[in-house]
């Protein structure tokens, strides 16, 4: 029983963590919390199924196509829902525009794809140490993404530029960094990470349109716990959430487990509004 909870908890936790990283990546260069993060993950799973099963492409090609498409959706998010409202001083507008876009994405998929879960292909098809691919793939993907991001942010110029914009927007612009292009790039990157979350989690969560709001919420919890913009916190938060959720499923059953998760989430936020690892919010006066 414990083994089962660990396995499935870490697997879904990895997916949640990746969505949390998606949120953070979009936040980094725009200071915008986008409601589309979960939908990116869902579309990653759906497109993966579409390309690999419905259209019969070989899996690596399907993955590439999925990454490109979802990255494109990320860029569209920036164009349509983020950039136009950044100019306004109104904080609430981006919540609305991204919420609207996320709803539109979800319902388009619901009507054109299906409201039932559809199968997802096995990527590698082998188990590791007796653990089925659907449990180890998300965790491995999460680790690969984290390592990749660390290398990006620390070793490449683009990564440094991302971090500069995230830390001090004005200074970065004063230095001549192309803020707009970097923002578009980071939204594309976020799309890619979301796609990886959905694709690697496809076997576990299936290609299912209801994953959108599910990932939106459960992917947000790691961000709330780990602190906005803090990827390491998001990873820890994600795994913790996954394990907690599976443990609750086991202990109190399906209905009450979601009540437990939501309840705990609200409680933690009230006690630590910046997250357990978060930084205090900037001065407002």
């Amino acid at each position: 029983m414990l083994a089962s909870i660990l396995m499935s908890g870490l697997a879904v936790g990895a997916i949640y963590a990746l969505i949390g990283v998606t949120y953070n990546t979009m936040f980094m260069t725009s200071r915008v919390m986008s409601f589309t993060a979960g939908q990116l993950g869902m579309v990653g799973g759906v497109l993966g199924s579409l390309f690999a099963l419905r259209l019969g492409l070989p899996v690596p090609l399907a993955l590439l196509a999925t990454l490109l498409c979802v990255a494109l959706i990320g860029v569209v998010t920036e164009f349509v829902a983020v950039r136009p409202v950044l100019k306004s001083l109104d904080q609430h507008l981006y919540v609305l525009s991204t919420l609207a876009l996320a709803t539109m994405i979800q319902h388009t998929v619901a009507v054109t794809w299906s409201t039932e879960p559809r199968p997802f292909p096995a990527v590698f098809g082998f188990a590791i140490a007796g653990i089925d691919e659907k449990f180890w793939l998300p965790v491995v993907t999460c680790l690969v993404v984290i390592i990749g991001l660390e290398m990006l942010y620390r070793r490449t110029l683009a990564g440094h530029a991302f971090r500069a914009i995230a830390e001090d927007n004005f200074a970065a612009r004063a230095l001549g960094l192309p803020e707009r292009n970097l923002r578009i790039a980071s939204y594309a990157l976020a799309g890619g990470i979301g796609a990886l979350a959905g694709f690697s989690g496809g076997l576990l969560l299936l290609a299912f349109v209801a994953n959108g709001p599910l990932l939106n919420f459960y992917g947000f919890v790691p961000v709330a716990l780990g602190g906005l913009g803090n990827n390491r916190g998001a990873i820890v938060g994600g795994f913790a959430l996954g394990l907690f959720q599976q443990a609750m499923n086991f202990l109190v059953g399906g209905i009450f487990s979601s009540v437990a998760v939501f309840g705990l989430f609200i409680l933690v936020l009230l006690l630590a509004p910046q997250g357990l690892f978060g930084a205090p919010v900037a001065r407002r006066v």
Binding site: M1, S8, A110, P117, R118, L214, G253, G254, I255
Partner: protein, 394 residues
């Protein structure tokens, strides 16, 4: 053009004939409302029923309609939302002024619209399973064309206890309204019949790993697992987990377990073995692959016109029967008055439909014979019909 005497006479005769016949031979179409959850969750049944509805309508209209009047189907997509269902029902009653309503297909919607239809005495046939929907005293206008949940439950319980001959049962439902209620009712029924419910759980349909629940069921000594879930994803996960665990136990339960969707969600086709889902004698084929006579007749008529490979035969058949029943009611009573239609339906005895042999009386509006509810081998779908589960006699 000058009218000659012959033409005039014929014309006069025709006019006289028209004036002499009763009101029914007017050209106004017969409007039948169809509350269909065509999109949204759980849309597969409505899509199936719809094929039957359209087929029957076309067939009847092509043969001249009902005493010369064409049938017009007014479809409203309720998306499984009780609010939309209520709106659509009232629209059908007050604005469109339909003569009868088929549907809704979803119990949650039906619970909300049944009182409204009762208020307007709108004749209503529907395939929803929740027991409380049918009450000839409160809702004299509502008739159920398919089994109630109790009848489903009786079939499942009967199979588990009398044919599989188990005494310890696990009951697993999903966390939807239906799943929670059905699991509870099922568990109570089992206990009343002397079986032991060793594990009862409601599992979130999106839960990715079913291992904890199946492990607990096994540890508690379950000899069969009764499943009440409408989610094919959850069903597939259960089957796959059972195989991974290497547990040789049977699943008995909700018809969703025989849905074609499941095929692609399985890790191995064998994972679908020993799964018995609710089915109907009329839609079950024998070892020779033959359906009962009437169903063969329907299958023949549908061939080439209606695709059965991705739906269930019983949905299509029930849709056909519903439209046929309404048109017969109006045709034979010669009236579109709701009281007449209801009286006619109350008098139906062993009516040979394609889906079932219906009997309704003034005090019983559950028309489907319990004996015809059987378990099917879930993996044996062929053109929407299934092989009878092993152990049935006759």
């Amino acid at each position: 053009m000058k009218l000659n005497r012959r033409e005039f006479t014929i014309g006069a005769a025709a006019t006289a004939a028209t004036l002499a016949t009763p009101a029914i031979a007017q050209t106004e179409p017969l409007r039948i409302g169809w509350l269909a959850a065509m999109t949204g969750p759980s849309s597969a049944p409505a899509i199936g029923f719809n094929r039957g509805v359209l087929f029957a309508t076309e067939a009847i209209n092509a043969a001249g309609g009902v005493k010369g009047r064409k049938i017009e189907i007014i479809t409203r997509d309720t998306q499984g939302d009780p609010t939309k269902a209520v709106n659509a029902t009232q629209e059908m009653i007050s604005s469109v002024k339909v003569h009868a309503i088929w549907g809704p297909t979803n119990s949650g919607e039906s619970l909300a619209v049944t009182p409204i239809m009762a208020r307007s005495k709108m004749p209503n046939l529907h395939p929803c399973v929740v027991d409380t929907l049918i009450d000839p005293a409160k809702f004299p206008n509502a008739f159920r064309i398919s089994p109630s949940n109790t009848q489903w439950d009786d079939a499942v319980r009967g199979y588990a206890l009398n044919i599989l001959k188990v005494t310890k049962v696990a009951v697993i439902g999903d966390t939807t309204g239906y799943g929670v209620a059905a699991a509870k009712a099922s568990s109570e029924g089992l206990k009343k019949d002397g079986a032991e419910v060793v594990y009862l759980a409601n599992v979130d349909a999106t839960q990715p790993d079913m291992t904890p629940d199946l492990l607990r069921a096994r540890n508690a000594g379950a000899q069969a697992i009764v499943v009440w879930s409408t989610s094919t994803g959850m069903d597939a996960r259960l089957f796959n987990t059972r195989a991974t665990m290497g547990w040789d136990v049977s699943f008995v339960g909700h018809p969703s377990m025989s849905s074609g969707d499941i095929a692609k969600l399985l890790e191995k086709p064998d994972n679908w073995k020993k799964v018995y889902a609710v089915g109907y004698r009329s839609c079950s084929y024998d070892d020779a692959g033959k359906l009962p006579a009437r169903s063969e007749e329907l299958a023949g008529k549908l061939k080439g016109k209606v695709d059965l490979s991705d739906t269930l035969l019983w949905w299509v058949a029930a849709g056909v029967d519903a439209i046929t029943l309404f048109s017969k009611a109006i045709g034979e009573t010669g009236s579109t008055e709701s009281a007449e239609i209801i009286k006619y339906l109350n008098g139906i005895k062993a009516y040979p439909g394609y889906f079932g042999e219906y009997t309704w009386t003034a005090v019983n509006h559950n028309g489907y014979p319990t004996a015809d509810v059987v378990m099917s081998d879930a993996s044996s779908a062929k053109d929407g019909a299934f092989r009878l589960a092993p152990g049935y006699k006759g």
